[in-house]
Structure formats: C-alpha cells, structure tokens
Amino acid sequence: MEKQGKITFINGPVVEAENMTGYIMRELVYVGKLKLVGEIIELDGNSATIQVYEETSGMKPGEPVFSTGHPLSVQLGPGIIGNIFDGIQRPLPFLEEKDGPFIQRGTRVSALDPEKEWELKILIEEGDYLKSGQIVAEFDETSVIIHKIMVPPGKEGEVIERVPDGRYSIDHVIAKIKDKEENITEIKLYQEWPIRKPRPYLDRLELGVPLLTGQRVLDTFFPIAKGGTAAIPGGFGAGKTMTQHQLAKWSDADIIIYIGCGERGNEMTDVLEEFPELEDPETGKSMMERTVLIANTSNMPVSAREASIYTGITLGEYYRDMGYHVAIMADSTSRWAEALREISGRLEEMPAEEGFPAYLPTRLAEFYERAGYVKTLGEENEGSISLIGAVSPPGADFSEPVTQNTKRFVRCFWALDKSLAASRHFPAVSWLDSYSEYLNDLEPWYKDNVNEEWFELRSRAMSLLKEESRLQDIVQLVGEDVLPDNQRLILEVAKLIKIGFLQQNAFDDIDRYSDINKQYWLLKIILYLYDQAQPLVKKSVPISQLKNDELFNKLLRLKNTVANDEIDKIKEFRQEIDDFYQQLADSYQK
C-alpha cells in the first residue's frame, strides 16, 4: 500500500504531518488535496516537518501527504538552455500557457518538453564498455551548444542495445548498458539528479585561466578565474544587478545560468526581452542561445527561493560534466539567506546572529564549494563552474552576517561603493575595498596571452590610485592648489584612470564590452602619458600647461570611440602625446 501521511499543523510554508514513518529526509512529497510540492526537512518519530514550495492558503489539518520516494530533483536533458524556470524547475512559459499570467498552485508540468524531438548522433557501438559520464550521443541543443547525453554518474557497463541515429524525444531509451553484476541501465535523453547533492567529477584542477568579463575594472584589477568564486556586495542602487547583467552578457563562459533569487520581477523580464536581441561577441549568435534563467522573484513562495540556487547550480554541473565552462550568477544570495532565516524562524529554531540560523555559514560554504575547475568523469574533459553571488547587505553595512560569512568562502570580492554610484561612476566597484586572490594564479596566463608587462602595468595603476586617495584626504583639508605639481599630476592621471578606464558605460555600443587587448592598451596609453608628462614637471612646466584639455578629453573618449578591433588607433595616439609634450618642452627650452 502506498504510504500516506496526515497533516496536523499549518503555519505558512511550514507544515507538520503524522503517520510519516518510512519517509526519508529531504524527500519530495506532495502535500494536501492540491498536491503542493514540498520537501521533508525534519523527521521526529512518527511525525515530520515539511517545507512547502507553494502557498498553503486554504489547506486543512487532516489532509493527506503523498510520498514520492526520492529527494527533490531536477530533470537534466535538452531544452534547458534558453528556457526560464522557477525555483523548482517548473518552466514559466508552460505555466503561463496552462494558468495564465498569474502562477496558480498545484500545477504540475514536466520541466523539459516531453514531445520535442532532437536529431541525435549516436557515438557508441554495441559491445563498447562505457564508464560513468561517458558520452553516448550528441546533438545541437541550440545553435551554439552541442548537448551530450552521458552515462549517469554511478552507472557503467557494456552496451547491449542502441538505437540508430535519428530523431528522438527525451523519454526514448536510446541505449541499454549491462554492468558486471548484470544490472541493466536504460539511457534516455535525460537523467534526474537531487539538487542538494553535488554531481561527481574525476578530479579538481588548479585554476589558471581567467573568466574574462569585458569589464575593465574586473578583468584588469580584480580578475576572477574560471572555476572561481566572487561576491558582489552593495546596498540598493549601487548597481549589483546591473553588474550581474553585464557579467551574464559579456563573460566568456560557454553557458550562463542566471538565478534571480528573491529579486524584482521586472528585472527578469528585462533579461528576457534584452538577451535574445544581444549578440555574443564570440559566436555572433543571440545571447539566449547560451543562457538559462531561474526566476523566483521576491513575491513567489519563499521556500522555492531557498531551493532556486541549488536548482541553478545542479543545472550548471550537468553542463560542466559535458566539458563546458559555466558561469552562474546568483542575484541575490542575501535573499536566499533570508529565506533560510524565515523558514528557520517558522521552525522556532534557536537563532544566531541577527536572527539567521547558526548553520548559515555551513550552507554558504556548501554552495560556494560547488564551484571549481574539474576533470570530468568518463571523457576526462575539462569543465568549470564559476560562481558569482550578489550580496545585499542591510543598510549597505558590510559587517552583517551574510557579507561576512560570504567573504570567508569566496576569493574575489567586488565591493560596490554607494558614493561612486551616487556620482554615477559605474560600475561602482571600489578599487580600494575590492580584492582578488586569483591574481597570482592568473599571472602566467596574462603574461602569455596579453603582455609580459601586464602585471607591472596593473600594479603601477593601482598604486597611483592608492596615492590619489591619500592625496584626496589632504585636498579635502587644504585644497588642491597647495599641492606640489608632481602630486597634482598624480591627481590628474588618477582622474584619467577613473574616467577613461574604470568607468564603463553599459549602454554604449562600443564601451560596454572591452576585450582584454583593448583594456591593456587603454591603461598603457594613460600611463604612457604620465611617463611623458612627469619629466616636464621636473623642468617646472606648470600643471595647467601639462593638463591640456583637448589632449586629455581625446584620451578620455578613446574608450568609446575605439572599437575592440581598432587597437591601432590607441597605439597611434602615442604619437599625439609625444608631439604635444615635445612641443611643450621646446617652448620651455627657449
């Protein structure tokens, strides 16, 4: 007989039930007459506590709880890319088709389209012995992503049956394998995987390749490695979401998974409308061809918000296992932490700091540790997951528990500064508070692929910015005029770096994406000007002469006048600098 529990208590998304012997921890259950999706989070003797992923209004004690026998899982197969799901992988376009513009309860739809057929190329023969993760078949999922059907982790065996190349829907058995114990595994176009369990890989590799984002302040000053982790903390209005959107658009990952976790509905709509129109600078194809969206907005059920980031990362791991580089943006991890807090409060657990449960750091660590650069099972390809989490500290106070605990588990910290945002300096990444621990890991890559002197250039620019901030303190007290000219030159050059390099306009067709070579040359040219101007200061040429408005303005506009493939124009600009300062020097010689 099928197991059936009985509801005894309801308090919002937290429901208790009895007669629950035999149910397993973290099991997916259907709750009440409406069969709402829920997950068991506590078992105590005969009774269980269930967190329900849908609104429980109207539910009564005495209603049944149905078992499924397996933990909350996602369906992994073709049709994920380009789609938009809620926190428990229900496809939102399907929900709209079924229920209209408002999300109803108890609607059960398949995550992946069961009807759609895919044009498969089978890569195995009968008699082959397949390992876990080995590729069975492949086909184009979108115009840029080749989907690879793999042997599920933990399964292996000899191929005893296979279908020929052809068109199949996801439920079709395309091969059967038999392992040494004579167990037969059917391979379909999809597999299922519990969201809270990391998918296995062969080995973790060292990080040494940057995830290039096209954003100058990040790539040049605080780079993140492929397989790395980063946090973007910032108060509201500092530009977290804008930065996350920029990263989703321009990162050189193969696949982007964007998790809108407890944020605004219109932001997801914005992505949905904008991404299909945008062209990937690498492939020239629409951005949506490589993007997956998970949308669990702030007004959608809070427990599904908690699940959404696990859903996102599990989808990411599946594509990583095919050998892709995946970048995951979670906006915002604070909302996820608040969901934890809310559920913990309803469970009447003893709170730790600011009402957050004591297991908050453990959960954060588990999440960020799912990032990494790995050698995959089976084919032994390389794949990676980079994780970039936005953090929304209350009152922009970075000392609060979510920011502090996140800092312990990420290696890139891109701090957004409210005062920069207020003066419309975007991206508002503070160059004084941010850091990247990947610099040393990535140094060889930059040296080989960009320029030998990359790091020297970066350090010089960085120390100029540091020096400028020190000088600004003095200026605040006594004004700029009393500084000696060599220090005033530093202020001017730092201004060039801030405006001509760090500021980047997301809405300008040229400026929004700088390839790494252009970044190098832009910074190079600013420091070149500094090098040419410096000797003249020593010759007592006044700063008002050195700072020529026309020359400086032209330099400032290089970022949005020179496209990525016109770098020569920046190189040529050196001549203009030379000419100007030569002339100036000559006139002072006389």
């Binding site: 208590f9 429980t56 939102l92 219109n266 007004n299 207020a422 007290l477």
Partner: protein, 464 residues
C-alpha cells in the same frame, strides 16, 4: 455548506485569539467573531493544528471574553467584491464602505492575496509618465508600471509631492482610462483630508478609490488595507483595462503594525524587532505593480514612507529600496532652505529610466544630460565640504564655478511651485541652461555630438 459555530475562546492576546477543539479549519480562512454584546467582527486564521486555531481579529479584541464569544469559520480566504462602482468611493481598511454610498455588491469576488505574477508574463515597462516635476522627470523618470517610493521624514512635504504628482501625472494619452487608488495606513485625519481635498481640486475625485485606515483605527486592519487596495487596482487595471496609480501611505505604519502582530505571536524577531519575513511581506505588496503582456492596463505604485529619524538604513526604507525600482529621497536640509520639492537627487534613482527615456520616448540627450547633472551635483557636494574648511575664496576657479552651478541647480531646477507643471522639453532645456554654466571640458558624460547640439557656448562677453 453548514458553518459550525463555536462558543468560547481558549486565549485572548491583543488582536489574537485561540480557539480549541475545532475541526475542519483551513489555514488563512476568514472567521466571523460575535462579541458578547452581539457585535460581529472579522478575523483570519494565522495558524492551525489538529484541534486548535490561532485567529487574528481585524477590529481588535477589546470587548471579547473567554466564555461567551462565538466564532464561525467562513470556509474561504478573505475576498472583496469589486465592480466599476468602486470608483469615487471611500472604504475602510478591510474594504467596507466608509462613506454613505452603501456596500458594493458584485458577483465577482477577489482573493486579496492574489497570486504572484509569472515573470514570463510581465511586460517590461517602458512608457514614461510626465509628472511635470523637473527633478523627477529629468533625473528619476517615472515609468508606467513602475514602483517608485518616496522616502521622506516627518515634517517633510511628501504628501504635497505625492499630491502634485497625482494631479499632474499624465498617465497616458487622453483617450486612455486613468484612475487613482489611494490607500492610507495609519495616517492622521488631517493628512487624509488633505489628499481628499487635493483630489477634489484637481477634479479627479470621481476616478479615485480610497481605502482609509487612520492612525486611531485598529492596527491589524492596516495589514489588510494595502492588499484590498491592490486587489482593487488589479481588477481595474487588468479587467477594466485602466491605468492605475496607487498611492500608498505610510508604509512605516504598515510595517509597524506587522511588527506588533509578529511580537504578539511570539515570533523570533529580525532587525530592530521587525519579523524576519518583512522583506517577503513588503515584496508581496510592491511586486503587484507592473504590466502584463497582451493586456492594456498597468499598475504604477508610489509608496510613501517616513524614515524614522531620517535614517535611510532603517529596515523599512532599506528593504523597500531593495524591492522597488528606485526611490525619491527627500532631504531636510533642502526643505529648510525653502527648496520645494526637497529632493536629494544623489541617493534618488529610477531603475526603469534607462529604457524609458531617449529619442523614442523623451529626447535623445535625456540620459546623458541627467548623468552629467548627477556627476556635476555630486562634485558640488565635495566642493561644499572643502569650502567649509578652507573658505570659498580659497577655492580654485573651477570649483567656484561648481558652487555657482550648485546654487542655480537647487534654486532653478529643483525648486518649483506646487502648481507649476513643466513639460519634458522645458525640463531638459533648463538642464542644459544650467550645465552650460560649466566649461565644456568638465562635461565628461556628454558626447561631442550632444555638446555641439545643445551646449550653450558663450562668447567673450559671456553672452550665449
């Protein structure tokens, strides 16, 4: 269906009552409570177990007793009856008629909790609303379907500003239907009267629906009021195809009512005693703004909140700012210097502006000039703090120019009469007048093309 009536309560604690030995009670269902004196009140189930239900009484529990009070469970969640007749009417916080127009009778009853809008079904808001207030139109443009709160403080003219926006806002073309839903939560009697008067004066009263919970009304009703109002707004927008502006004031009183209830329930408090779910709760209101693909109507929200002690990091403005699409922040210092509206532009922002301005909607230069004004005004503040140390005379020439610019910006651009409506052309042209006070090379946010077209170059005599 037979509705059983229970006599006697197990416990009364503020607006919460506990009834024991009940069966067949649903979470979130409506309850009717009859006091010993025969008065009937309404309530809602907050928590239910096999034989016990916790009920929140909207009108408060004063006058109830343990042994004689009677409770009837109504078998459905809270619903309001809605029809087009609600226009021009005044209701209390739970949607009952508060004027002499009688109750609304309608076949159509709507669950006040609504359902979350599918993000996939949303229409991204792009059409801007001209409010006639330069600071708003020029720098933090309001977009149809947006939620843009006013962060204010006690004693600041937020009500005047909200009334002016309501009066002047052109929500759509003339042939489109437009209405205001006004919900008052814990505001004072005279504030409420001020709004009614200002709606009357601007002749929109017949297109206003009011839900009023005043400061001395039961605080539990305050939690229901915005939900009833937004349900009415959704009905008008998505079934009657109207463009709705929802003015919600004061979100601080709302949140305080929520805190009061939470503490009665003995919940674990979060920051400053507010419940841990304050964010989700506020989001369930604010996220009801927006537009739906394929439907004509829209819901635009202007929530007003008074920041306790003018502190923007207080949980209420803080969490609000994380949910809404920008904010309009008022500043006491400007108000004291007689600048109305006293909008502090630096922390203010409209997130949807980027897609709703420009050649297609307002003018090609709009986004650049606004960015330049922000940058310049931000520098003005740096110069001011420097001047307070070294004195204005010691400032460099260019910084003195900035001071001058700041002065004019506040007094010519920000400052505006309560009954003066400037159209977008006028606002942008004013912006260029001001920015032309600064030398060309300072304008790093403007392209040469824009400068050539709009910048007012001066000849040697200082004439443009």
């Amino acid at each position: 269906m037979l509705k059983k009536e229970y006599t006697g309560l197990a416990n009364i604690n503020g607006p919460l009552i506990v009834i024991e030995n009940v069966d067949d009670v649903a979470y979130d269902e409506m309850v009717e409570i009859t006091a010993p004196d025969g008065e009937v009140r309404k309530g809602r189930v907050l928590q239910v177990s096999s034989n016990k239900a916790v009920v929140q009484v909207f009108e408060g529990s004063t006058g109830l007793n343990i042994n004689e009070s009677r409770v009837k469970f109504l078998k459905e969640p809270m619903k309001v009856a809605l029809s087009k007749d609600i226009l021009g009417r005044v209701f209390n916080g739970v949607g009952e008629a508060a004027d002499d127009g009688g109750q609304i009778y309608s076949e159509n009853k709507y669950d006040i909790n609504s359902k979350p809008m599918n993000p996939y079904s949303r229409q991204y808001p792009r059409n801007y609303i001209q409010t006639g207030v330069s600071a708003v139109d020029g720098l933090m443009t309001l977009i149809r379907g947006q939620k843009l709160p006013i962060f204010s403080g006690n004693g600041l003219p937020h009500n005047q500003l909200a009334a002016q926006i309501t009066r002047q806002a052109k929500l759509g073309k003339d042939d489109e239907k437009f209405a205001v839903v006004f919900v008052a939560m814990g505001i004072k009697h005279d504030e409420s009267r001020y709004f009614i008067k200002s709606f009357e004066e601007s002749g929109v009263l017949q297109n206003v629906v009011m839900y009023v919970n005043l400061a001395d009304d039961p605080s539990v009703e305050r939690i229901i009021a915005p939900r009833v109002a937004l349900t009415a707004a959704e009905y008008l927008a998505f079934e009657e195809n109207m463009h709705i502006l929802v003015v919600m004031t004061d979100m601080t009183s709302y949140s305080e009512a929520l805190r009061e209830l939470s503490s009665r329930r003995g919940e674990v408090p979060g920051r400053k005693g507010y419940p841990g779910y304050l964010y989700s709760d506020l989001a369930s209101l604010y996220e009801r703004a927006g537009m739906i693909k394929g439907r004509e109507g829209s819901i635009t929200q202007i929530p007003i909140l008074t920041m306790p002690n003018d502190d923007i990091t207080h949980p209420i403005p803080d969490l609000t700012g994380y949910i809404t699409e920008g904010q309009i922040v008022l500043k006491r210092d400007l108000f004291q210097r007689d600048v109305y509206p006293p909008i502090n532009i630096l922390p203010s922002l409209s997130r949807l502006m980027k897609d709703g301005v420009g050649a297609e909607y307002t003018r090609e230069d709009h986004s650049d000039i606004s960015s330049q004004l922000y940058a310049a005004y931000s520098h003005v503040n740096e110069v001011k703090s420097l001047a307070s140390v070294i004195g204005e005379d010691e400032l460099s020439k260019i910084d003195q120019k900035y001071l001058e610019f700041g002065e004019k910006f506040e007094n010519k651009f920000l400052k505006q009469d309560k009954f003066n409506s400037r159209d977008i052309e006028e606002t942008l042209s004013l912006a260029w007048d001001l920015i032309s006070e600064l030398p060309e090379h300072e304008l790093d946010r403007l392209s040469e093309k824009m400068i050539d077209k709009y910048y007012r170059r001066k000849d040697e005599n200082g004439e443009t």
